[in-house]
């Protein structure tokens, strides 16, 4: 078969950073989920942590229902933060190199004690107001990208498939409108 140069160029434009960093990262996210599930039977999502952690400081019934899981959810989140740091200290810092990783050009890199760290250029007001809506929406909608997107879709849950279709469609529309209004980054 002769590779069509037009097709190859189209694929390169759709995936300017290749697909390997996404696929490998996704496999690791799945593996982390599986490790927890195999040992505990829990299909863990990330957003419940927001409410379970609020139960330490608020007696409201909506948060108190998560008292039984708040300790391990804190441990899970601490693991996610330190997993990000482990990535920064190895692959992002260039200590570990692999052809599967495409560093890209987004944001800004800076160094602390020999570790290459990264920070975003996206404006704080977008992060803050977007964050508020993420906090409201994930908790009312029964899940986020990990709860619905990874565990729910992995469970072939119709609720989660509808949830993912909803937030994906609305997010695409929102990002397009925000970009059309000239907001960048």
């Amino acid at each position: 078969m002769v590779a069509d140069p037009v097709l190859l160029q189209a694929v390169a434009e759709l995936f300017p950073n290749g697909v390997s960093r996404y696929a490998v990262g996704g496999l690791l996210v799945g593996l982390g989920t599986v490790v927890v599930y195999v040992g505990t039977g829990i299909p863990a999502g990330a957003s419940t942590f927001l409410e379970s952690t609020l139960s330490y400081v608020s007696g409201r019934s909506r948060f108190q229902r998560y008292v039984g899981s708040r300790d391990w959810r804190l441990v899970f989140t601490a693991g996610i933060v330190l997993g990000g740091l482990a990535f920064a200290a190895t692959v992002q810092s260039g200590v570990v190199t692999t052809s599967l990783y495409e560093p890209g050009t987004t944001g800004r890199l800076y160094e602390v004690a020999g570790v290459t760290l990264w920070t975003t250029d996206v404006q704080p007001w977008r992060l803050f107001f977007g964050g508020i809506l993420v906090g409201i929406g994930t908790r009312i909608g029964k899940g986020c990208t990990s709860g619905h997107g990874v565990c729910g879709v992995g469970s072939a849950s119709k609720t989660s498939l509808v949830g993912v279709a909803t937030f994906l469609t609305v997010a695409i529309g929102t990002a397009q409108v925000v970009a059309a209004l000239g907001v960048s980054p």
């Binding site: 593996l31 942590f49 996610i80 990783y101 996206v122 107001f129 986020c144």
Partner: protein, 152 residues
């Protein structure tokens, strides 16, 4: 729970480490990359979400056939099935606006802090504010519903 297996939290921690490393490696911890996907400028994101869903889906399908209960909790292996109601659509839409505006979701925000993105504290602060606001409102309306039911 006080009587949980001593390896319960260490295992959850290790799972979180792998999960967070994967979010860093896949660049999902970078809001720019998520926004670029939503603008159709880099279509890599589905490889992360569906790649992870396939891996966990295999485990969710196989483990119940291999064992009855998880070793560290004694809980049965079950899939993640939640009942559908209109909250899934309303919440999903609100989350979609927030995700599209900020380019960050909860798990990726935790990992983003780990890769050095101090600015993401704005998003994390916002998420706690949002989670508190809906919990405050829903605790009140829940109490009101209960009181109304009791009055009947």
């Amino acid at each position: 729970m006080a009587d949980r297996h001593p390896l319960f939290k260490p295992l959850v921690f290790v799972g979180g480490l792998i999960f967070g490393f994967g979010l860093g490696f896949s660049h999902m911890a970078r809001p720019e990359v998520v926004v670029n996907f939503l603008l159709f400028e880099d279509l890599g994101l589905p490889f992360v979400m569906f790649g992870a869903a396939i891996v966990s889906g295999v485990a969710f399908a196989l483990l119940p056939r291999i064992r009855d209960a998880a070793p560290l909790t004694g809980d049965p292996y079950e899939r993640r099935l939640k009942p559908f109601d209109r909250n899934v659509l309303i919440g999903g839409a609100v989350f979609g606006v927030g995700w599209g505006l900020s380019g960050i979701c909860p798990g990726a925000a935790y990992a983003s802090l780990g890769v050095g993105n101090v600015t993401i504290l704005w998003a994390l602060g916002g998420m706690f504010v949002g989670a508190y606001a809906q919990g405050y409102w829903r605790s009140r309306s829940g109490a009101r519903d209960a009181a109304a039911a009791g009055a009947d």
